[in-house]
Subunit: 330 residues, 2 copies
Protein backbone atom coordinates (compact mmCIF):
# COMPACT_ATOMS: atom_id res chain seq x y z
CA UNK A 1 0.00 0.00 0.00
CA UNK A 2 1.41 3.38 -1.00
CA UNK A 3 0.52 6.94 -0.19
CA UNK A 4 0.32 9.48 -3.00
CA UNK A 5 0.67 13.16 -2.25
CA UNK A 6 0.90 16.52 -4.00
CA UNK A 7 3.73 18.73 -2.76
CA UNK A 8 4.52 22.38 -3.34
CA UNK A 9 7.52 22.21 -5.69
CA UNK A 10 8.14 25.96 -5.94
CA UNK A 11 6.48 29.25 -5.04
CA UNK A 12 4.56 30.88 -7.90
CA UNK A 13 5.68 34.16 -9.35
CA UNK A 14 2.41 35.81 -10.33
CA UNK A 15 -0.29 33.34 -11.30
CA UNK A 16 0.06 29.77 -10.02
CA UNK A 17 0.70 27.03 -12.57
CA UNK A 18 0.75 23.24 -12.70
CA UNK A 19 4.55 23.28 -12.51
CA UNK A 20 4.33 24.65 -8.96
CA UNK A 21 3.15 21.20 -7.84
CA UNK A 22 4.72 17.74 -7.74
CA UNK A 23 3.11 14.30 -7.34
CA UNK A 24 5.06 11.99 -5.03
CA UNK A 25 4.55 8.36 -4.00
CA UNK A 26 5.65 7.28 -0.55
CA UNK A 27 5.17 4.06 1.44
CA UNK A 28 2.04 3.89 3.59
CA UNK A 29 2.94 5.34 6.99
CA UNK A 30 3.23 3.17 10.13
CA UNK A 31 0.56 3.76 12.76
CA UNK A 32 2.05 4.42 16.20
CA UNK A 33 0.30 4.51 19.56
CA UNK A 34 -2.26 7.31 19.74
CA UNK A 35 -2.50 7.60 15.96
CA UNK A 36 -4.99 6.79 13.24
CA UNK A 37 -4.55 6.25 9.54
CA UNK A 38 -7.25 7.84 7.40
CA UNK A 39 -8.07 6.93 3.85
CA UNK A 40 -9.02 10.29 2.41
CA UNK A 41 -12.11 10.12 0.21
CA UNK A 42 -12.59 13.75 -0.78
CA UNK A 43 -10.21 16.69 -0.65
CA UNK A 44 -11.52 20.24 -0.51
CA UNK A 45 -9.86 22.87 -2.73
CA UNK A 46 -10.15 26.46 -1.55
CA UNK A 47 -8.94 29.87 -2.73
CA UNK A 48 -7.07 30.55 0.54
CA UNK A 49 -4.54 27.91 -0.53
CA UNK A 50 -3.22 30.28 -3.18
CA UNK A 51 -2.30 32.82 -0.49
CA UNK A 52 -0.38 30.23 1.48
CA UNK A 53 1.71 29.30 -1.53
CA UNK A 54 3.40 32.70 -1.21
CA UNK A 55 5.97 33.39 1.44
CA UNK A 56 4.26 36.45 2.86
CA UNK A 57 2.80 37.38 6.20
CA UNK A 58 -0.83 36.36 6.52
CA UNK A 59 -3.14 34.79 9.03
CA UNK A 60 -1.58 31.41 8.52
CA UNK A 61 1.94 30.15 8.09
CA UNK A 62 2.98 29.87 4.45
CA UNK A 63 2.76 26.41 2.90
CA UNK A 64 6.19 24.74 3.25
CA UNK A 65 8.16 23.97 0.11
CA UNK A 66 8.63 20.28 -0.75
CA UNK A 67 5.96 19.34 1.76
CA UNK A 68 2.47 18.01 1.19
CA UNK A 69 -0.02 20.75 0.30
CA UNK A 70 -2.27 21.54 3.22
CA UNK A 71 -6.00 21.08 2.93
CA UNK A 72 -9.12 19.74 4.58
CA UNK A 73 -10.66 16.44 3.62
CA UNK A 74 -13.09 13.74 4.66
CA UNK A 75 -12.38 10.06 4.88
CA UNK A 76 -12.58 6.82 6.80
CA UNK A 77 -10.34 5.52 9.56
CA UNK A 78 -8.65 2.37 8.20
CA UNK A 79 -6.24 1.70 11.08
CA UNK A 80 -6.32 2.95 14.65
CA UNK A 81 -4.22 2.92 17.80
CA UNK A 82 -6.21 5.90 19.08
CA UNK A 83 -8.40 5.96 22.21
CA UNK A 84 -11.56 7.45 20.71
CA UNK A 85 -11.31 7.03 16.93
CA UNK A 86 -12.07 3.54 15.61
CA UNK A 87 -11.69 1.79 12.28
CA UNK A 88 -14.69 2.66 10.12
CA UNK A 89 -15.27 6.09 11.68
CA UNK A 90 -16.07 8.80 9.14
CA UNK A 91 -14.02 11.90 9.89
CA UNK A 92 -13.17 15.45 8.80
CA UNK A 93 -9.68 16.86 9.26
CA UNK A 94 -6.76 18.73 7.79
CA UNK A 95 -5.45 15.68 5.99
CA UNK A 96 -3.60 17.46 3.16
CA UNK A 97 -3.51 16.70 -0.56
CA UNK A 98 -2.84 12.99 -0.15
CA UNK A 99 -4.59 9.64 -0.20
CA UNK A 100 -3.48 8.37 3.21
CA UNK A 101 -3.15 10.63 6.23
CA UNK A 102 -1.58 9.79 9.55
CA UNK A 103 -3.02 11.76 12.47
CA UNK A 104 -2.82 11.95 16.23
CA UNK A 105 -6.50 12.83 16.18
CA UNK A 106 -6.07 16.53 16.93
CA UNK A 107 -8.58 18.52 14.92
CA UNK A 108 -10.13 15.34 13.57
CA UNK A 109 -13.91 15.31 14.01
CA UNK A 110 -16.14 12.29 13.69
CA UNK A 111 -19.29 13.23 11.78
CA UNK A 112 -22.83 11.94 11.41
CA UNK A 113 -23.72 10.77 7.89
CA UNK A 114 -27.15 9.34 8.72
CA UNK A 115 -28.98 12.01 6.73
CA UNK A 116 -26.27 13.70 4.67
CA UNK A 117 -23.37 12.46 2.55
CA UNK A 118 -19.91 12.55 4.09
CA UNK A 119 -18.64 15.13 1.64
CA UNK A 120 -21.33 17.62 2.77
CA UNK A 121 -18.96 18.29 5.67
CA UNK A 122 -16.63 19.91 3.15
CA UNK A 123 -19.43 22.06 1.76
CA UNK A 124 -22.69 23.22 3.28
CA UNK A 125 -21.87 21.68 6.67
CA UNK A 126 -18.19 22.59 6.58
CA UNK A 127 -16.06 25.68 6.24
CA UNK A 128 -18.07 27.12 3.33
CA UNK A 129 -21.51 26.69 4.87
CA UNK A 130 -20.47 27.82 8.30
CA UNK A 131 -18.63 30.82 6.84
CA UNK A 132 -21.86 31.76 5.09
CA UNK A 133 -23.82 31.36 8.32
CA UNK A 134 -21.38 33.44 10.36
CA UNK A 135 -21.06 36.24 7.82
CA UNK A 136 -24.79 36.52 7.28
CA UNK A 137 -26.03 36.13 10.84
CA UNK A 138 -23.19 37.60 12.88
CA UNK A 139 -22.02 40.43 10.61
CA UNK A 140 -24.56 41.27 7.91
CA UNK A 141 -27.47 40.69 10.29
CA UNK A 142 -30.02 41.37 7.55
CA UNK A 143 -33.53 42.52 8.36
CA UNK A 144 -36.49 41.43 6.27
CA UNK A 145 -36.90 43.66 3.25
CA UNK A 146 -33.26 44.66 3.04
CA UNK A 147 -31.07 44.02 0.01
CA UNK A 148 -28.10 41.69 0.49
CA UNK A 149 -25.44 41.33 -2.19
CA UNK A 150 -23.27 38.23 -2.36
CA UNK A 151 -20.19 38.06 -4.59
CA UNK A 152 -18.95 34.71 -5.91
CA UNK A 153 -22.61 33.85 -5.60
CA UNK A 154 -22.23 30.53 -7.44
CA UNK A 155 -19.38 29.49 -5.16
CA UNK A 156 -19.57 27.18 -2.18
CA UNK A 157 -19.81 30.01 0.34
CA UNK A 158 -21.78 32.53 -1.66
CA UNK A 159 -24.45 30.07 -2.74
CA UNK A 160 -25.30 29.33 0.91
CA UNK A 161 -24.98 32.97 1.99
CA UNK A 162 -27.59 34.07 -0.54
CA UNK A 163 -30.00 31.32 0.47
CA UNK A 164 -29.64 32.36 4.12
CA UNK A 165 -30.38 35.97 3.12
CA UNK A 166 -33.50 34.79 1.33
CA UNK A 167 -34.53 32.80 4.42
CA UNK A 168 -34.20 36.07 6.37
CA UNK A 169 -36.72 37.73 4.06
CA UNK A 170 -34.23 39.79 2.08
CA UNK A 171 -33.73 40.57 -1.57
CA UNK A 172 -30.64 38.48 -2.43
CA UNK A 173 -28.56 39.70 -5.36
CA UNK A 174 -25.62 37.64 -6.54
CA UNK A 175 -22.54 38.65 -8.46
CA UNK A 176 -20.93 35.86 -10.49
CA UNK A 177 -18.77 35.39 -13.56
CA UNK A 178 -20.62 34.29 -16.66
CA UNK A 179 -24.19 33.80 -17.83
CA UNK A 180 -24.31 30.11 -16.89
CA UNK A 181 -23.35 30.80 -13.29
CA UNK A 182 -25.85 33.64 -13.07
CA UNK A 183 -28.64 31.44 -14.38
CA UNK A 184 -27.77 28.81 -11.78
CA UNK A 185 -27.77 31.43 -9.02
CA UNK A 186 -31.25 32.68 -9.91
CA UNK A 187 -32.98 29.57 -11.21
CA UNK A 188 -31.58 26.92 -8.92
CA UNK A 189 -30.40 28.75 -5.82
CA UNK A 190 -33.36 31.14 -5.76
CA UNK A 191 -31.56 34.50 -5.63
CA UNK A 192 -33.73 37.39 -6.81
CA UNK A 193 -31.15 38.54 -9.34
CA UNK A 194 -27.57 37.92 -10.39
CA UNK A 195 -25.11 40.28 -12.06
CA UNK A 196 -22.55 38.84 -14.47
CA UNK A 197 -19.37 40.79 -13.76
CA UNK A 198 -17.79 39.40 -16.91
CA UNK A 199 -20.44 41.11 -19.07
CA UNK A 200 -18.57 44.39 -18.76
CA UNK A 201 -21.28 46.59 -17.20
CA UNK A 202 -20.82 45.75 -13.56
CA UNK A 203 -21.73 49.16 -12.13
CA UNK A 204 -24.80 49.68 -14.31
CA UNK A 205 -26.01 46.10 -13.98
CA UNK A 206 -25.58 46.14 -10.21
CA UNK A 207 -27.50 49.41 -10.04
CA UNK A 208 -30.36 47.90 -12.02
CA UNK A 209 -30.41 44.83 -9.77
CA UNK A 210 -30.47 46.86 -6.53
CA UNK A 211 -33.21 49.48 -6.90
CA UNK A 212 -33.22 50.01 -3.11
CA UNK A 213 -29.44 50.09 -3.04
CA UNK A 214 -27.51 47.67 -0.78
CA UNK A 215 -27.83 47.16 2.96
CA UNK A 216 -25.40 44.31 3.44
CA UNK A 217 -22.64 42.73 1.39
CA UNK A 218 -21.19 39.27 1.78
CA UNK A 219 -17.85 39.87 0.10
CA UNK A 220 -15.75 37.11 -1.43
CA UNK A 221 -13.96 38.98 -4.21
CA UNK A 222 -12.74 42.49 -3.39
CA UNK A 223 -11.23 44.79 -6.01
CA UNK A 224 -13.58 46.19 -8.62
CA UNK A 225 -16.45 44.01 -7.43
CA UNK A 226 -16.22 45.51 -3.95
CA UNK A 227 -15.81 48.96 -5.50
CA UNK A 228 -19.07 48.54 -7.39
CA UNK A 229 -20.82 47.42 -4.21
CA UNK A 230 -19.38 50.32 -2.19
CA UNK A 231 -20.86 52.72 -4.75
CA UNK A 232 -24.35 51.32 -4.03
CA UNK A 233 -24.30 50.93 -0.24
CA UNK A 234 -26.97 52.48 1.92
CA UNK A 235 -26.19 54.33 5.12
CA UNK A 236 -25.32 52.03 8.02
CA UNK A 237 -24.61 49.11 5.71
CA UNK A 238 -22.62 46.07 6.81
CA UNK A 239 -19.89 44.23 4.93
CA UNK A 240 -18.84 40.72 5.89
CA UNK A 241 -15.39 40.29 4.37
CA UNK A 242 -14.92 36.56 3.85
CA UNK A 243 -12.47 36.52 0.97
CA UNK A 244 -10.70 38.62 -1.63
CA UNK A 245 -10.09 36.30 -4.57
CA UNK A 246 -9.11 39.33 -6.68
CA UNK A 247 -5.43 39.72 -5.94
CA UNK A 248 -4.76 36.22 -4.63
CA UNK A 249 -2.09 35.99 -7.28
CA UNK A 250 -0.28 39.00 -5.82
CA UNK A 251 -1.55 41.64 -8.25
CA UNK A 252 -2.17 45.10 -6.79
CA UNK A 253 -5.94 45.51 -6.67
CA UNK A 254 -6.59 49.08 -5.59
CA UNK A 255 -9.89 50.05 -4.03
CA UNK A 256 -11.21 53.37 -5.38
CA UNK A 257 -14.42 53.85 -3.44
CA UNK A 258 -13.17 53.48 0.13
CA UNK A 259 -14.72 56.90 0.80
CA UNK A 260 -18.11 55.19 0.81
CA UNK A 261 -17.09 53.51 4.07
CA UNK A 262 -17.11 56.95 5.66
CA UNK A 263 -19.92 58.71 3.83
CA UNK A 264 -22.27 55.78 4.44
CA UNK A 265 -21.00 55.01 7.96
CA UNK A 266 -20.38 51.38 7.07
CA UNK A 267 -19.25 48.59 9.32
CA UNK A 268 -16.84 46.09 7.78
CA UNK A 269 -15.66 42.97 9.51
CA UNK A 270 -13.36 40.31 8.17
CA UNK A 271 -13.29 36.80 9.55
CA UNK A 272 -11.77 33.35 9.20
CA UNK A 273 -14.34 30.82 10.26
CA UNK A 274 -11.85 28.46 11.90
CA UNK A 275 -11.26 31.21 14.50
CA UNK A 276 -14.92 31.14 15.52
CA UNK A 277 -15.35 27.52 16.54
CA UNK A 278 -18.00 28.53 19.08
CA UNK A 279 -20.44 29.14 16.23
CA UNK A 280 -19.97 25.73 14.56
CA UNK A 281 -22.47 23.65 16.55
CA UNK A 282 -25.15 26.32 16.18
CA UNK A 283 -24.46 26.69 12.46
CA UNK A 284 -24.46 22.95 11.75
CA UNK A 285 -27.69 22.55 13.70
CA UNK A 286 -29.25 25.36 11.68
CA UNK A 287 -28.01 24.15 8.29
CA UNK A 288 -28.26 20.35 8.56
CA UNK A 289 -32.05 19.97 8.20
CA UNK A 290 -32.05 22.04 5.01
CA UNK A 291 -29.09 20.12 3.61
CA UNK A 292 -30.76 16.78 4.40
CA UNK A 293 -34.13 17.79 2.94
CA UNK A 294 -32.75 19.53 -0.12
CA UNK A 295 -34.21 22.88 0.91
CA UNK A 296 -30.66 24.22 0.94
CA UNK A 297 -29.22 23.75 -2.52
CA UNK A 298 -25.57 23.25 -3.17
CA UNK A 299 -23.45 22.24 -6.12
CA UNK A 300 -20.18 20.42 -6.30
CA UNK A 301 -17.55 20.23 -9.00
CA UNK A 302 -15.68 16.99 -8.45
CA UNK A 303 -12.32 16.25 -10.05
CA UNK A 304 -11.34 12.58 -10.29
CA UNK A 305 -8.05 11.48 -8.76
CA UNK A 306 -5.28 13.17 -6.83
CA UNK A 307 -3.21 13.71 -9.97
CA UNK A 308 -5.89 16.12 -11.22
CA UNK A 309 -5.92 18.23 -8.04
CA UNK A 310 -3.50 20.91 -9.33
CA UNK A 311 -5.52 21.50 -12.52
CA UNK A 312 -8.74 21.57 -10.51
CA UNK A 313 -7.16 24.10 -8.17
CA UNK A 314 -6.08 26.35 -11.05
CA UNK A 315 -9.60 26.05 -12.44
CA UNK A 316 -10.99 27.14 -9.09
CA UNK A 317 -8.77 30.23 -9.11
CA UNK A 318 -9.94 30.97 -12.65
CA UNK A 319 -13.57 30.55 -11.62
CA UNK A 320 -14.21 27.45 -13.74
CA UNK A 321 -15.93 25.51 -10.93
CA UNK A 322 -19.58 25.71 -9.98
CA UNK A 323 -20.10 25.42 -6.25
CA UNK A 324 -17.72 23.52 -4.04
CA UNK A 325 -14.56 22.22 -5.75
CA UNK A 326 -13.71 18.73 -4.50
CA UNK A 327 -11.28 16.03 -5.58
CA UNK A 328 -12.34 12.40 -5.24
CA UNK A 329 -9.37 10.38 -3.98
CA UNK A 330 -10.91 7.00 -3.25
CA UNK B 1 -27.73 96.26 13.42
CA UNK B 2 -26.74 94.14 10.43
CA UNK B 3 -26.02 90.49 9.93
CA UNK B 4 -22.94 89.47 7.98
CA UNK B 5 -22.75 86.06 6.40
CA UNK B 6 -20.54 83.97 4.13
CA UNK B 7 -22.40 82.23 1.33
CA UNK B 8 -21.35 79.53 -1.10
CA UNK B 9 -20.98 81.45 -4.38
CA UNK B 10 -20.12 78.45 -6.57
CA UNK B 11 -19.14 74.82 -6.27
CA UNK B 12 -15.40 74.17 -6.44
CA UNK B 13 -13.90 72.22 -9.30
CA UNK B 14 -11.02 70.39 -7.67
CA UNK B 15 -9.50 72.28 -4.76
CA UNK B 16 -11.67 74.88 -3.05
CA UNK B 17 -10.62 78.53 -3.36
CA UNK B 18 -11.55 81.88 -1.84
CA UNK B 19 -13.62 82.73 -4.91
CA UNK B 20 -16.05 79.96 -4.00
CA UNK B 21 -17.28 82.15 -1.14
CA UNK B 22 -19.09 85.49 -0.94
CA UNK B 23 -19.50 87.88 2.01
CA UNK B 24 -22.99 89.39 2.23
CA UNK B 25 -24.54 91.94 4.59
CA UNK B 26 -28.22 91.63 5.40
CA UNK B 27 -30.48 93.41 7.90
CA UNK B 28 -30.71 91.86 11.36
CA UNK B 29 -33.56 89.34 11.28
CA UNK B 30 -36.86 89.92 13.11
CA UNK B 31 -37.50 87.59 16.05
CA UNK B 32 -40.91 85.90 15.80
CA UNK B 33 -42.78 83.91 18.44
CA UNK B 34 -40.87 80.76 19.43
CA UNK B 35 -37.58 82.11 18.11
CA UNK B 36 -34.31 83.40 19.53
CA UNK B 37 -31.63 85.60 18.04
CA UNK B 38 -28.09 84.47 18.79
CA UNK B 39 -25.00 86.61 18.55
CA UNK B 40 -22.44 84.08 17.36
CA UNK B 41 -19.11 84.42 19.18
CA UNK B 42 -17.10 81.59 17.64
CA UNK B 43 -17.62 79.60 14.48
CA UNK B 44 -16.12 76.14 14.09
CA UNK B 45 -14.47 75.22 10.78
CA UNK B 46 -14.34 71.53 9.94
CA UNK B 47 -13.09 69.39 7.05
CA UNK B 48 -16.54 67.87 6.44
CA UNK B 49 -17.64 71.26 5.08
CA UNK B 50 -15.51 70.68 2.00
CA UNK B 51 -17.49 67.56 1.14
CA UNK B 52 -20.78 69.42 1.40
CA UNK B 53 -19.61 72.07 -1.05
CA UNK B 54 -19.84 69.42 -3.78
CA UNK B 55 -23.13 68.31 -5.21
CA UNK B 56 -22.63 64.62 -4.54
CA UNK B 57 -24.40 62.04 -2.46
CA UNK B 58 -23.09 61.86 1.06
CA UNK B 59 -24.39 61.53 4.58
CA UNK B 60 -25.64 65.09 4.51
CA UNK B 61 -27.42 67.24 1.96
CA UNK B 62 -25.02 69.30 -0.12
CA UNK B 63 -24.53 72.89 0.96
CA UNK B 64 -26.99 75.06 -1.03
CA UNK B 65 -25.61 77.57 -3.51
CA UNK B 66 -26.11 81.26 -2.64
CA UNK B 67 -27.07 80.30 0.91
CA UNK B 68 -25.19 80.83 4.16
CA UNK B 69 -22.48 78.21 4.69
CA UNK B 70 -23.54 75.69 7.30
CA UNK B 71 -21.52 75.29 10.47
CA UNK B 72 -21.66 74.96 14.23
CA UNK B 73 -20.96 77.86 16.55
CA UNK B 74 -21.30 79.10 20.10
CA UNK B 75 -22.83 82.39 21.17
CA UNK B 76 -25.19 84.28 23.41
CA UNK B 77 -28.93 84.75 23.13
CA UNK B 78 -29.53 88.48 22.58
CA UNK B 79 -33.27 88.40 21.94
CA UNK B 80 -35.80 85.75 22.79
CA UNK B 81 -39.46 84.93 22.23
CA UNK B 82 -38.71 81.27 23.08
CA UNK B 83 -40.15 79.32 26.00
CA UNK B 84 -36.94 77.90 27.45
CA UNK B 85 -34.06 79.97 26.03
CA UNK B 86 -33.54 83.37 27.66
CA UNK B 87 -31.48 86.44 26.84
CA UNK B 88 -27.96 85.89 28.17
CA UNK B 89 -28.01 82.11 27.76
CA UNK B 90 -24.81 80.68 26.31
CA UNK B 91 -25.60 78.20 23.57
CA UNK B 92 -24.21 75.80 20.95
CA UNK B 93 -25.97 75.28 17.65
CA UNK B 94 -25.75 75.02 13.89
CA UNK B 95 -25.75 78.77 13.43
CA UNK B 96 -23.88 78.91 10.10
CA UNK B 97 -21.09 81.22 8.98
CA UNK B 98 -22.76 84.43 10.16
CA UNK B 99 -22.71 86.90 13.02
CA UNK B 100 -26.42 86.78 13.89
CA UNK B 101 -28.46 83.61 13.78
CA UNK B 102 -32.19 83.26 14.07
CA UNK B 103 -33.33 79.93 15.49
CA UNK B 104 -36.48 78.17 16.63
CA UNK B 105 -34.36 76.51 19.30
CA UNK B 106 -34.18 73.09 17.64
CA UNK B 107 -30.74 71.62 18.13
CA UNK B 108 -29.69 74.57 20.27
CA UNK B 109 -28.15 73.46 23.57
CA UNK B 110 -27.56 75.67 26.59
CA UNK B 111 -24.14 74.89 28.07
CA UNK B 112 -22.39 75.30 31.41
CA UNK B 113 -19.36 77.61 31.32
CA UNK B 114 -18.68 77.64 35.08
CA UNK B 115 -15.41 75.73 34.72
CA UNK B 116 -14.63 75.85 30.99
CA UNK B 117 -14.70 78.57 28.33
CA UNK B 118 -17.71 78.68 26.01
CA UNK B 119 -15.63 77.85 22.96
CA UNK B 120 -14.54 74.52 24.54
CA UNK B 121 -17.96 73.28 23.38
CA UNK B 122 -16.64 73.56 19.82
CA UNK B 123 -13.50 71.60 20.70
CA UNK B 124 -12.80 69.10 23.47
CA UNK B 125 -16.41 69.18 24.71
CA UNK B 126 -17.96 69.38 21.27
CA UNK B 127 -17.98 67.40 18.06
CA UNK B 128 -14.18 66.88 18.02
CA UNK B 129 -13.81 65.73 21.62
CA UNK B 130 -16.88 63.54 21.57
CA UNK B 131 -15.83 62.04 18.21
CA UNK B 132 -12.51 61.15 19.83
CA UNK B 133 -14.27 59.62 22.82
CA UNK B 134 -16.64 57.56 20.68
CA UNK B 135 -14.00 56.32 18.28
CA UNK B 136 -11.60 55.34 21.04
CA UNK B 137 -14.01 53.84 23.55
CA UNK B 138 -16.75 52.41 21.34
CA UNK B 139 -14.75 51.24 18.32
CA UNK B 140 -11.01 51.01 19.04
CA UNK B 141 -11.65 49.74 22.58
CA UNK B 142 -7.92 49.68 23.35
CA UNK B 143 -6.53 47.45 26.07
CA UNK B 144 -3.58 48.54 28.21
CA UNK B 145 -0.31 47.78 26.46
CA UNK B 146 -1.73 47.94 22.95
CA UNK B 147 -0.51 50.35 20.26
CA UNK B 148 -3.01 52.92 19.01
CA UNK B 149 -2.24 55.05 15.95
CA UNK B 150 -4.00 58.38 15.42
CA UNK B 151 -3.78 60.26 12.14
CA UNK B 152 -4.17 64.05 12.05
CA UNK B 153 -2.79 63.75 15.56
CA UNK B 154 -2.33 67.48 15.97
CA UNK B 155 -5.92 68.15 14.93
CA UNK B 156 -8.87 68.81 17.17
CA UNK B 157 -10.09 65.22 17.10
CA UNK B 158 -6.78 63.39 16.90
CA UNK B 159 -5.19 65.30 19.76
CA UNK B 160 -7.95 64.17 22.13
CA UNK B 161 -8.07 60.63 20.72
CA UNK B 162 -4.38 60.11 21.45
CA UNK B 163 -4.71 61.43 24.98
CA UNK B 164 -7.62 59.05 25.61
CA UNK B 165 -5.50 56.16 24.30
CA UNK B 166 -2.74 57.18 26.72
CA UNK B 167 -5.27 57.31 29.56
CA UNK B 168 -6.20 53.73 28.64
CA UNK B 169 -2.60 52.62 29.13
CA UNK B 170 -1.69 52.32 25.47
CA UNK B 171 1.24 53.34 23.33
CA UNK B 172 -0.13 56.31 21.38
CA UNK B 173 1.54 57.03 18.05
CA UNK B 174 0.49 60.08 16.07
CA UNK B 175 0.76 60.82 12.36
CA UNK B 176 0.90 64.50 11.47
CA UNK B 177 2.20 66.79 8.75
CA UNK B 178 5.42 68.59 9.61
CA UNK B 179 8.05 68.61 12.31
CA UNK B 180 6.39 71.38 14.34
CA UNK B 181 3.12 69.49 14.59
CA UNK B 182 4.93 66.29 15.53
CA UNK B 183 6.88 68.05 18.28
CA UNK B 184 3.61 69.43 19.64
CA UNK B 185 2.01 65.99 19.55
CA UNK B 186 4.81 64.39 21.55
CA UNK B 187 5.96 67.20 23.83
CA UNK B 188 2.69 68.88 24.66
CA UNK B 189 0.01 66.26 24.06
CA UNK B 190 2.08 63.40 25.50
CA UNK B 191 1.93 60.90 22.64
CA UNK B 192 4.75 58.33 22.74
CA UNK B 193 5.82 59.09 19.19
CA UNK B 194 4.71 60.98 16.11
CA UNK B 195 5.44 60.28 12.45
CA UNK B 196 5.76 63.21 10.05
CA UNK B 197 4.07 62.03 6.86
CA UNK B 198 5.50 64.98 4.98
CA UNK B 199 9.05 63.75 5.63
CA UNK B 200 8.70 61.25 2.81
CA UNK B 201 9.36 57.98 4.68
CA UNK B 202 5.91 57.27 6.02
CA UNK B 203 6.06 53.47 5.85
CA UNK B 204 9.55 53.16 7.35
CA UNK B 205 8.96 55.81 10.01
CA UNK B 206 5.67 54.28 11.03
CA UNK B 207 7.33 50.88 11.27
CA UNK B 208 10.02 52.30 13.55
CA UNK B 209 7.41 54.00 15.73
CA UNK B 210 5.29 50.84 16.12
CA UNK B 211 7.64 48.01 17.12
CA UNK B 212 4.67 45.92 18.33
CA UNK B 213 2.72 46.81 15.19
CA UNK B 214 -0.73 48.43 15.49
CA UNK B 215 -3.78 47.17 17.37
CA UNK B 216 -6.13 50.07 16.77
CA UNK B 217 -6.26 53.02 14.39
CA UNK B 218 -8.19 56.23 14.82
CA UNK B 219 -8.36 57.29 11.19
CA UNK B 220 -8.88 60.86 10.06
CA UNK B 221 -7.00 60.90 6.76
CA UNK B 222 -7.40 57.81 4.56
CA UNK B 223 -5.41 57.30 1.35
CA UNK B 224 -1.71 56.62 1.72
CA UNK B 225 -1.81 57.26 5.47
CA UNK B 226 -4.41 54.55 5.93
CA UNK B 227 -2.45 52.32 3.54
CA UNK B 228 0.65 52.66 5.71
CA UNK B 229 -1.37 51.81 8.81
CA UNK B 230 -3.02 48.80 7.14
CA UNK B 231 0.44 47.44 6.37
CA UNK B 232 1.27 47.47 10.12
CA UNK B 233 -1.96 46.18 11.65
CA UNK B 234 -1.99 43.24 14.01
CA UNK B 235 -4.54 40.46 13.78
CA UNK B 236 -7.96 41.44 15.11
CA UNK B 237 -7.16 45.16 14.92
CA UNK B 238 -9.87 47.82 14.99
CA UNK B 239 -10.17 50.91 12.82
CA UNK B 240 -12.40 53.82 13.82
CA UNK B 241 -13.01 55.72 10.60
CA UNK B 242 -13.77 59.29 11.59
CA UNK B 243 -12.63 61.19 8.52
CA UNK B 244 -10.86 60.94 5.18
CA UNK B 245 -9.34 64.34 4.58
CA UNK B 246 -7.33 62.87 1.69
CA UNK B 247 -9.68 63.15 -1.24
CA UNK B 248 -12.01 65.80 0.19
CA UNK B 249 -11.21 67.82 -2.92
CA UNK B 250 -12.57 65.06 -5.14
CA UNK B 251 -9.26 63.47 -6.11
CA UNK B 252 -9.27 59.68 -6.53
CA UNK B 253 -7.35 58.32 -3.56
CA UNK B 254 -7.01 54.58 -4.13
CA UNK B 255 -6.38 52.23 -1.24
CA UNK B 256 -3.76 49.61 -2.08
CA UNK B 257 -3.61 47.54 1.09
CA UNK B 258 -7.27 46.66 1.55
CA UNK B 259 -6.15 43.02 1.60
CA UNK B 260 -4.88 43.62 5.15
CA UNK B 261 -8.52 43.95 6.25
CA UNK B 262 -8.93 40.27 5.38
CA UNK B 263 -5.56 38.81 6.26
CA UNK B 264 -5.61 40.49 9.67
CA UNK B 265 -9.35 39.96 10.26
CA UNK B 266 -9.87 43.66 10.97
CA UNK B 267 -13.01 45.41 12.06
CA UNK B 268 -13.59 48.84 10.57
CA UNK B 269 -16.40 51.12 11.59
CA UNK B 270 -17.15 54.60 10.33
CA UNK B 271 -19.21 57.06 12.30
CA UNK B 272 -20.59 60.59 12.38
CA UNK B 273 -20.81 61.66 15.97
CA UNK B 274 -24.03 63.64 15.55
CA UNK B 275 -25.76 60.31 14.86
CA UNK B 276 -24.76 58.98 18.26
CA UNK B 277 -26.33 61.56 20.55
CA UNK B 278 -26.81 58.92 23.24
CA UNK B 279 -23.07 58.99 23.93
CA UNK B 280 -22.81 62.78 24.37
CA UNK B 281 -23.72 63.09 28.08
CA UNK B 282 -21.36 60.26 29.01
CA UNK B 283 -18.57 61.71 26.88
CA UNK B 284 -18.94 65.26 28.20
CA UNK B 285 -19.02 63.96 31.78
CA UNK B 286 -15.84 61.98 31.11
CA UNK B 287 -14.00 64.79 29.33
CA UNK B 288 -15.07 67.92 31.26
CA UNK B 289 -12.96 67.45 34.41
CA UNK B 290 -9.79 67.03 32.33
CA UNK B 291 -10.65 70.03 30.18
CA UNK B 292 -11.31 72.18 33.27
CA UNK B 293 -8.15 71.06 35.07
CA UNK B 294 -5.87 71.24 32.06
CA UNK B 295 -5.12 67.51 32.22
CA UNK B 296 -6.59 67.24 28.73
CA UNK B 297 -4.59 69.51 26.46
CA UNK B 298 -6.06 71.14 23.41
CA UNK B 299 -4.96 73.80 21.00
CA UNK B 300 -6.95 76.30 19.02
CA UNK B 301 -6.11 78.28 15.93
CA UNK B 302 -8.34 81.34 15.97
CA UNK B 303 -8.95 83.51 12.90
CA UNK B 304 -10.22 87.02 13.57
CA UNK B 305 -13.42 88.14 11.90
CA UNK B 306 -15.97 86.54 9.62
CA UNK B 307 -14.29 87.95 6.50
CA UNK B 308 -11.28 85.73 7.22
CA UNK B 309 -13.31 82.53 7.55
CA UNK B 310 -12.76 81.36 3.92
CA UNK B 311 -8.97 81.74 4.14
CA UNK B 312 -8.98 79.99 7.52
CA UNK B 313 -11.04 77.18 6.02
CA UNK B 314 -8.63 76.76 3.10
CA UNK B 315 -5.78 76.74 5.62
CA UNK B 316 -7.54 73.98 7.55
CA UNK B 317 -7.85 71.88 4.38
CA UNK B 318 -4.15 72.45 3.70
CA UNK B 319 -3.28 71.47 7.28
CA UNK B 320 -2.00 74.92 8.34
CA UNK B 321 -3.95 74.94 11.63
CA UNK B 322 -2.83 73.44 14.91
CA UNK B 323 -5.73 71.95 16.85
CA UNK B 324 -9.24 73.26 16.52
CA UNK B 325 -9.79 75.90 13.84
CA UNK B 326 -12.15 78.61 15.06
CA UNK B 327 -13.20 82.03 13.81
CA UNK B 328 -13.91 84.76 16.35
CA UNK B 329 -16.97 86.69 15.23
CA UNK B 330 -17.70 88.93 18.22
Amino acid sequence: MTNRQIQLARRPTGAASADDFRLVETPAPEVADGQVLVQVEYLSLDPYMRGRMDDRRSYAEPQKLDAVMTGVGVGKVIASKHATLAVGDEVVGTFGWQTLALSNGRGVRKVDTTHVPLRAYLGPLGVPGISAYYGVHRICRPKAGETVVVSSAAGAVGSIAGQLAKQAGCRAVGIAGGAAKCRHVVEELGFDACVDYKAGNLAADLKAATPQRIDADFENVGGEVLDAVLRRMNAFGRIALCGMVAGYDGADVPLHNARSLLTNRLKLEAFIITEHLDVWPEAIAALAPGVASGAIKYRETIAEGLENAPQAFLGLLAGRNLGKQLVRLA
